[in-house]
Symmetry: C2
Subunit: 169 residues, 2 copies
């Protein structure tokens, strides 16, 4: 692998939804969570570029002439901190293909996100990391990210949501 490589980081458009989904599937494979992926390109189109936009995405784009055009991606949206009263840039997925790691692509994506967070006057940037993913944790520590060790996220799936919605007090 060459130690320097040409690519640009650009915002994804509606034309990119199937490429984004392919990258998400590769990320899921790396996270050993492929069985959880039920998304479709149509859902990515509808929820990113339809009436309401629920996400934005940056692509590390090496150009059309390569066998592998996209080296990595960062998918994000804005949440809100009630303590800060400001939006938080929440990074849902950050992924660089294994064969393109160690070239600074992940760092470039994060720098661009930090610039976007400043433009949007965000009080925080946040993302979740799998506890076994030590290379990622080391990387995040280096940029002074702090683990929220005393919090646990709880989740309801669609079935549990339906049960709750139809329940009575």
């Amino acid at each position: 692998m060459a130690s320097s490589i040409q690519y640009k980081i650009r915002p994804a458009t509606e034309e990119d939804v199937s490429d984004i989904l392919s990258l998400v599937k590769k990320l899921a494979e790396y996270e050993k969570l492929s069985h959880e992926v039920t998304a479709t390109s149509e859902l990515f189109r509808e929820n990113g570029f339809g009436k309401t936009s629920h996400y934005s995405c940056l692509l590390a784009d090496g150009g059309m002439n390569l066998d592998t055009r996209y080296f990595g991606f960062a998918l994000y949206f804005y949440t809100f901190s009630t303590f800060k009263g400001k939006p938080t840039l929440y990074l849902e997925d950050l992924f660089v293909l294994p064969e393109f790691r160690g070239l600074g692509i992940g760092k470039s994506l994060l720098i661009r996100l930090a610039q976007i967070a400043r433009e949007k006057k965000c009080g925080r940037m946040e993302w979740a990391v799998l506890d076994w993913n030590q290379p990622a944790i080391d990387f995040y520590r280096k940029i002074d990210a702090v683990p929220m060790d005393d919090w646990t996220v709880f989740r309801l799936d669609e079935k549990a949501i339906r049960r709750l919605a139809e329940s009575t007090r």
Copy 2:
């Protein structure tokens, strides 16, 4: 405390921003995190009811004639699951004033949120819980919420965002 109580759950409007902030401050006190609160009513107005709306809020409203009008609140927004391809209803804050607990107000707020999540075709509902808050954890377990035990959230504050934004690869 009466075992039944009259209130309605209604969406907050722009007129409610200072009441929402008061409730957030009471929540922060309960969580022993008051020192983290720097939000202002103006920021709540701008980020909830300005050009971009970063949150929505439900209020448990007992009516104007009471000394304490608002018994609790739920502040939420939509994130996005790349694995589901669908929005997630993310519950940032759920809080019932200590003196109004045990009356089903928290459950009522959650039921309403689940109904909203279904209307918006969400694939998930999620929220974070402090690990020492056992009463909350017990409550969430009862409605079949599942803890994401193998994930940790990392956070950058404004200073770290600035440093990252200004760094080079």
